[in-house]
Symmetry: C2
Subunit: 356 residues, 2 copies
């Protein structure tokens, strides 16, 4: 790659509440084993394989989760874990990582990944990342991945694809026509029908120079605040003044040369409990059992179960439910109400925050 050193940035700042009661403030989703024997962040790291060695992986996380990162990813050097004193969305996270990588390796390409997606198989993922790295290194464009939609999702942003700019192996690279915010159902149906729209995956590949230049042009307040930041301790003073803004809004929607690599392999952002259906094998009745507990199902169809090893969950005559046990809490709700777990979390935050 023309002398470029390749780095990874794993964004682990999320504190999602949609996996309550398994996800807690002190233990958010990316640190949970919801999709198999590895936690989501461990699976994210493992997915990189030999593509990028641990000493060239940065993890950006909340300061309260540094210990979890160190424990779950012991091969990553301590100085590669950047602790945000407070969450400021993805733009500051990406800017800080870019500043840090520029200091250590000015002539580099970065692969920026959420820590809580599930993408399989790993070999196909690595092949697509290689394509994006080549594209970013050759063009100095900002490159993103767009997931081939499988249904008219209203929960994702979309990328409208433009001209095909290159073909790398069997993978095309397209110009990005525009980014689109989460659509309503009708627009999502149109997007799906045209075949010209991809889901915005939140994964990016770019040279360190390209992202720094784009930040300087489109989000100077974010970049200049972080340019002087050399340690997590320094970040404590800097972060409160930084605007909270997503990289899509701050940079991607404004940058001139943005390219997209279509992502045709299995991808899930594991947005809520029902998503386990997409990332775990089901039994003959469509029940999915994460977390290690024994599942005993009688006349029970298409349920999603998550409970600790050594426990047993018996379901009789129930269908399409989410049943979760974690840390002295039980959640039961229909799969199509799983978004409303937020209501539980909201009530607990008012009435009994010790459960969060």
């Amino acid at each position: 790659m023309q002398g470029y050193e390749t780095w990874a940035v794993i964004m682990a700042g999320g504190s999602g509440t949609r996996f309550w009661p398994a996800s807690r403030k002190q233990h958010p989703k990316q640190f949970l084993r919801v999709a198999g024997s590895k936690t989501l962040i461990q699976e994210t790291a493992a997915r990189l394989g030999d593509l990028i060695p641990p000493e060239r992986r940065l993890v950006v996380t909340g300061h309260e989760h540094v210990a979890l990162v160190r424990k779950q990813l012991p091969k990553i050097p301590p100085e590669n874990v950047l602790a945000e004193p407070t969450g400021r969305n993805t733009a500051p996270c990406i800017a800080w990582a870019a500043v840090e990588i520029a200091r250590r390796s000015p002539n580099s390409v970065q692969v920026v990944l959420p820590s809580d997606s599930v993408i399989r198989p790993a070999a196909a993922f690595q092949k697509l990342v290689r394509v994006a790295i080549e594209e970013a290194a050759n063009s100095n464009a900002l490159v993103t991945f767009g997931v081939q939609p499988t249904f008219a999702a209203t929960g994702y942003g979309y990328i409208e694809i433009g001209d095909e700019l290159a073909m790398r192996g069997k993978t095309p690279v397209h110009a990005v026509q525009r980014f689109v915010e989460k659509p309503d159902r009708a627009r999502a149906e149109v997007f799906l029908a045209t075949g010209k729209y991809l889901w915005n995956s939140g994964m990016f590949v770019w040279t360190t120079n390209a992202i720094l230049a784009a930040l300087r042009e489109h989000a100077p307040a974010v970049l200049t605040a972080l340019e002087g930041c050399r340690t997590s301790a320094e970040a404590i003073a800097i972060y409160p003044a930084i605007p909270s803004i997503a990289i899509d809004v701050a940079v991607m929607e404004k940058a001139r040369d943005v390219r997209v690599v279509p992502f045709g392999i299995s991808w899930s952002d594991v947005g809520a409990w029902p998503a386990l259906v997409d990332v775990l094998p089901a039994d003959g009745d469509g029940n999915v059992n994460g977390g290690g507990a024994q599942l005993l199902a009688v006349d029970a169809l298409r349920n999603v179960v998550h409970a600790p090893k050594g426990e047993i969950v018996a379901l009789v005559g129930v269908s399409d439910l989410v049943v979760v046990r974690a840390g002295k809490a039980i959640l039961v709700c229909p799969k199509d109400r799983a978004q409303d777990v937020k209501q539980i979390v909201d009530r607990l935050s008012r009435e009994d925050p010790s459960w969060l």
Copy 2:
């Protein structure tokens, strides 16, 4: 009461599986707090109030549950706990208690009660028991209580009432026309419509002489085997040879003079999880929460929840479910499938009996 000493016999031999996972082989239903702060057997004992003192209460239970009885009913003298080496239904239990009471107090009346019903209020119960005691002492008949049906139950046996034989205070005493086994739905509807049928409550009042005479006439094999039985240790040798038979079949259906006191107060045999609705207060949405856990219900109606203190159960958008947590096991089933918990227990007894 013409010099009669009044005794109570609390039958605590049940090993019901319908309250799994809270009920286990080592901890059956009567020892559970499913209907409030007392266990069912504690509530049964407390219900007797001052009517019969603890030293005149016998408890007949399985040998493996003697320690539980001693712990939950510490005021009952140890020699009043009769340990059955194996369950043989109610006739042997009643015969042994009769033999034991005859030895200690030949001129006595016995109040024989299951240990796992819920009857409220206690004062009204005591009034009805006093009526039955007077009737039994005066007539030397076998007296039973028949519960006023509130719906066309198919899960109970019925008692057809005959002539009114006496009026004690405001309570009539009727002859029993006949005992009827559990009917199908159509017959149950007829029974309800006639107003001539009561539910068989399994509670009895009789003089010790009357029940011994009836056993000698109708179930001599049961009585003679137990006449020599003076201790729980001796029962170990005797019990295996005793026929397993219910007192209804062995004696009540055959005896000549059987009388019934109609029981118009709140009664439940707490047959399965949905019965908690009858014995516990509901919240404004009809949800019933036993067991001490915190319940957080959002758009959740008429559910039955039972989980330990210190835990939380969050229900979102579910109705008419049973949700139970006990001893590392969770059960979720619709209330109208609660009888099928037996299928879970059957499968576990084959595949993994450690859960029973």
